[in-house]
Symmetry: C2
Subunit: 470 residues, 2 copies
C-alpha cells in the first residue's frame, strides 16, 4: 500500500469516527505533510484520493472540507459531538441549580463538600481560633500580594509528594482553586480565544471561560484514563488553541486518574503545538492509593503548565485558601490577582502553616483518603441496589464524586425538580458540558459522614428514576 | 445678543478652558441642537460663526473639530489634560510600588490601613475566635452565593444611616470593596468600552479597568467638591460612556465629600445620558461629621447605581468582607461573582453580624471617626512644619488619607526610592491617573496610632523633598 493511500485511510477513518465533522476544514496540505513527514506532493495525492472517493471537497483558497453529502454509516461513533470551538452558554439557572437557598433540612449531594467532622481536623480549628487573639493582630491586615511566604514554603514541600518541584517564590496563594483557575485563564486567554477542556468538565471552569468570552473545544474523556490524546491532537492541529484545561488526578466529575505516561504525552503534545496547560489538581491529594499520583506540572521543563489547587477539598472550603503555580506566567498571574482584588485573610493561612508544620496535614489526608474509599464502596452498593440496572456508574480512584449516566429516557430536569421538593440536592449533568452531552447524567457527592438519612436520599433518587421509566 | 452667538460663546469658552482640546470633535449638530433646545439651523449658525472666528473647522462627513492652529492664550487652563478616552497603562512596577516585601521595620504610610489596635474592636476578635469552635462548624463550608443572609440584613440596616434604602435581597457580599468594584465593572463594561472616572482615582479601580480593556476618561475633581459636573456633561455628550466611577464620600485620595445637591445632579446627568454609576463608598462611614453623608445610591430610583463598600476601612481589611448593591444589575453581578469564584468564608461574616447586632459597630465607628479627625490635625501640622512652603495639602472631610502636591521640580520617583531605602513606604501619585497628571503628588496614610516613629518618618519625607529643591 502506498504512503498516500495509507494517509488517506487515516483521514477517512477519522471522518468515520467523527473527529472531523461534516463541513469541517481539514488540516492544510502544508501542515498535513509536515506532521506526517511526507512531501507536499504525497499529501496532495492523499487528499486527491479522498476527493475522488467523495469524502472531501476543495474550496478555493481555503483548503479541503469534509463533504456535506458524505455517506458514512458510523458518523459520530467515537465522538458523538462536533469537535469544534463553541461559545460557552450563560446558564441563567446555574446559581439556583448549584446553590439552592440554604436550609437545615437540605441533603447536600450536589456541591463538592468534604467531611469536616473528623477528629484529625481539630488542631486546625484550635489554631484558627487562636489567630484572633492579641498580641499578633497581623491577621486583621492585608496579606502579601502573593500570599503568606511561610504558607508558600509549606505548599512547596507538600508538592514534592506529587514529584512537583517548585520554589515558594513560584507559588501564589489564591482564595480557593476556582479563583486560581480563573486567574490562570485570564493570564492566558482573552475574548474569542479557543481552549480545550475535558469532557465532562467542572462547571466552574466553563463559567470562568464564559466570563471572558473564550470558546471551548470539548475533548471527550474515557471513564478510566481521561482525555483522548488522539482527539486532543486533532483539535490542536485544526484550531489555534491557547490552552488545554485538564483535571488529570481524581477528575471532577469522573474520578479517574490519568496514567503517568499519558500525562507525559499530553505535556509533550502541548509543547509540540506550543500551548499552555492549566492543570486542576484540587482532588489530587485524595487519591485512594498512596503515594499519590504525579501532576502534569511535574513533567514541565519550560514553564507552560499552570498548576491550580487548594485546601478546600482536603481541609475545608470555608478557609478559602488555594494556590496557583503559574510557571512562566508568574508576573501575569500576580498582576491578575491584584486586578481582580483577590487579597486573602492572613488568619487561615497562618493556621494552615501551623497545621502542616506540626505534621497534622499528612495524618489528616491519610484519614480522609481511607474514609472516602470506604464511603465509595458503600454508596456504590446503595446505588446498585436502588437505581435501575442499566445506569452506568463511574469508577473513582480518588475524591468523593460519583458520576451516573441514566437511561436517555430519563429527564434529569424533572428528576431534579422532584428531588429539590423532597429536600435533596444533586448536580445535573447539563452544566458539565457546553454541548448538551450529559443531559442524562447526574453527579452525587459521597463526602459527608454516611447516615441512614443519606442512604434514604439515594434510594429516593433511585425510586424517582425508576418511576420515570415506568 | 442672538441665541446662536450666545451658543457660540459657550463653545468658545469651553475651548478656552480646555474642555474641548485641540483636534477634538465637537458634539454633532443634531445633538447640540437637541441639548440646547434650539433648531438645527441655529446650531448650524453657531458653528459657522465659530468657524469664521477660526476656532473650529468642518471635516467632510465627520463633523466639526477644534482647529489645530487655534490661537488661544489660556488653553488647558481649567482642564490641563485632554478629556478623551485613554487606554489604561499596565504598570509593571505597581506591585512593587504598592506592596513592598513585608518587613517589621517598614513604616507603612502607603496602603490604606486602618488602626486596628483600638479597644472597641475587641468584641469582634472574641467573636471571630469563637467561630471556629464546635458544634457550629458551618464556617468551614462554602457560604451562600450572595453571602450570609443575616449579614445582608445588618448591612441593609446600616445603610439607612446614609439614607440608602435597600433590602437584604439586593445586597451581595464580596471579599472586599475592590472585588465589589471589579464585579460592578464586569457587570457593565467589556473590552473597548468607555468609562468616566474621578481624577485622581484609586489605582485599584484603574487596574480593574485595565484588566478588562476598558478606556478611561478622567474628569478632574476639585479639591473640596469632587468631580466637575460641567466636564462630566461634556464627556457624556461627546463619548459613548458606559459608566461613571465615583467616590463621592471621603474620596480616596482627596478626602472631599461631594455636596448633596451635586450628588443628585450627578445622578440626574447619568439618567439623562442613560449611563450607570459605580459608587465607591468604602470610607463613607468615616466622615468626621455625623450624621454621615448620603450616597448617590440614595437618590437612585431606577436602579442604575451600583454601590460598593466594605468593612476593610471601618473594621479591618483582614476580614475580607465587602458588599455590592448592584441595583438593576443584580443578576449579572451574582453571576460575575460566581464566575470569578469569589466565595467567602462564613466565619468573619458571622462575627460581623454579632458585632453589629450587639451595637458595637456604631460605637466603634464613632471612636474611629474622632480618632482619625484628631490624627488629621496632628499630621497636617507635622507636614506644614517639615515640608517646603509651596506644597498643596488636601482637606479631608473623612477617612485617613492625605494628598500632597509637591513642587513640579521634585521627582517623586527619586523621593520614593530614597524613602524605601530608609524603610518608609508612601503612595506615589503616578498610579492615580492614566495621564501622568499627578507625577508630582504623593499620598500618605494617617490611620495608624501616631507615634514619634511616624512623626520622624514624616519629617524625613519633608527633608528629602527639601533636599531635592536645594
Amino acid at each position: 500500500m502506498s504512503i498516500y493511500s495509507e494517509l488517506a485511510d487515516i483521514i477517512s477513518s477519522r471522518i468515520e469516527k467523527g473527529y472531523y465533522s461534516i463541513g469541517q476544514r481539514l488540516p492544510s496540505l502544508r501542515l498535513f505533510s509536515k506532521e506526517n513527514d511526507v512531501s507536499l506532493g504525497t499529501a496532495q495525492r492523499a487528499y486527491t484520493l479522498l476527493e475522488e472517493k467523495g469524502l472531501i471537497e476543495p474550496k478555493s483558497r481555503s483548503g479541503y472540507y469534509v463533504r456535506k453529502n458524505t455517506n458514512i454509516s458510523h458518523c459520530y461513533k467515537t465522538v458523538d459531538f462536533p469537535q469544534e470551538p463553541v461559545e460557552v452558554p450563560k446558564w441563567d439557572d446555574i446559581l439556583d441549580l448549584t446553590f439552592p437557598p440554604p436550609s437545615s433540612n437540605l441533603i447536600q449531594l450536589g456541591r463538592g463538600l468534604p467531611n469536616i467532622e473528623v477528629q484529625t481536623l481539630k488542631p486546625l480549628l484550635t489554631s484558627l481560633s487562636r489567630s484572633w487573639v492579641k498580641p499578633d493582630l497581623s491577621a486583621l491586615y492585608y496579606d502579601e500580594i502573593k500570599g503568606l511566604y511561610k504558607l508558600r514554603e509549606q505548599i512547596s514541600r507538600l508538592l514534592i509528594d506529587s514529584e512537583t518541584q517548585v520554589a515558594p517564590e513560584e507559588i501564589i496563594i489564591t482564595p480557593g482553586c476556582h479563583a486560581a483557575l480563573s486567574i490562570a485563564i485570564r493570564s492566558i486567554c482573552t475574548t474569542g480565544d479557543v481552549v480545550v477542556t475535558d469532557s465532562p468538565c467542572f462547571h466552574g471552569i466553563l463559567n470562568s471561560l464564559q466570563n471572558i468570552g473564550a470558546k471551548v473545544i470539548e475533548v471527550s474523556s474515557s471513564k478510566n484514563q481521561g482525555m483522548s490524546l488522539e482527539a486532543l491532537e486533532l483539535a490542536l492541529e485544526q484550531w489555534p488553541v491557547k490552552a488545554i484545561l485538564v483535571t488529570p488526578n481524581c477528575n471532577n466529575p469522573l474520578g479517574y486518574i490519568m496514567p503517568e505516561d499519558k500525562k507525559k504525552d499530553l505535556y509533550l503534545l502541548a509543547r509540540k503545538f506550543d500551548v499552555a496547560i492549566i492543570e486542576d489538581d484540587i482532588y489530587g491529594d485524595l487519591a485512594y492509593k498512596y503515594p499519590r499520583p504525579r501532576t502534569i506540572k511535574s513533567y514541565d521543563i519550560d514553564g507552560r503548565v499552570l498548576l491550580c489547587s487548594s485546601f478546600s477539598k482536603t481541609l475545608a472550603p470555608g478557609l478559602r485558601v488555594g494556590w496557583i503555580v503559574p510557571g512562566r506566567y508568574l508576573e501575569k498571574a500576580s498582576y491578575n490577582k491584584y486586578s481582580s482584588a483577590l487579597f486573602l485573610s492572613a488568619a487561615p493561612q497562618k493556621a494552615i502553616v501551623n497545621f502542616i508544620e506540626a505534621g497534622f496535614y499528612l495524618t489528616h489526608v491519610k484519614r480522609m483518603r481511607n474514609l472516602y474509599a470506604r464511603n465509595l464502596a458503600v454508596v456504590k452498593q446503595w446505588v446498585e441496589l436502588s437505581f435501575p440496572e442499566d445506569v452506568v456508574i463511574s469508577e473513582p480512584q480518588g475524591g468523593y464524586m460519583l458520576w451516573i449516566e441514566l437511561p436517555k429516557k430519563v429527564s434529569v430536569t424533572k428528576l431534579n425538580e422532584e428531588l429539590i421538593n423532597e429536600g435533596i440536592q444533586i448536580s445535573t449533568g447539563r452544566i458539565f458540558s457546553v454541548s448538551d452531552k450529559y443531559n442524562n447524567c447526574i453527579r452525587i457527592n459521597f463526602g459527608a459522614r454516611l447516615s441512614p438519612r443519606i442512604k434514604n436520599a439515594i434510594y429516593r433518587i433511585g425510586n424517582s428514576i425508576k418511576n420515570q421509566l415506568l
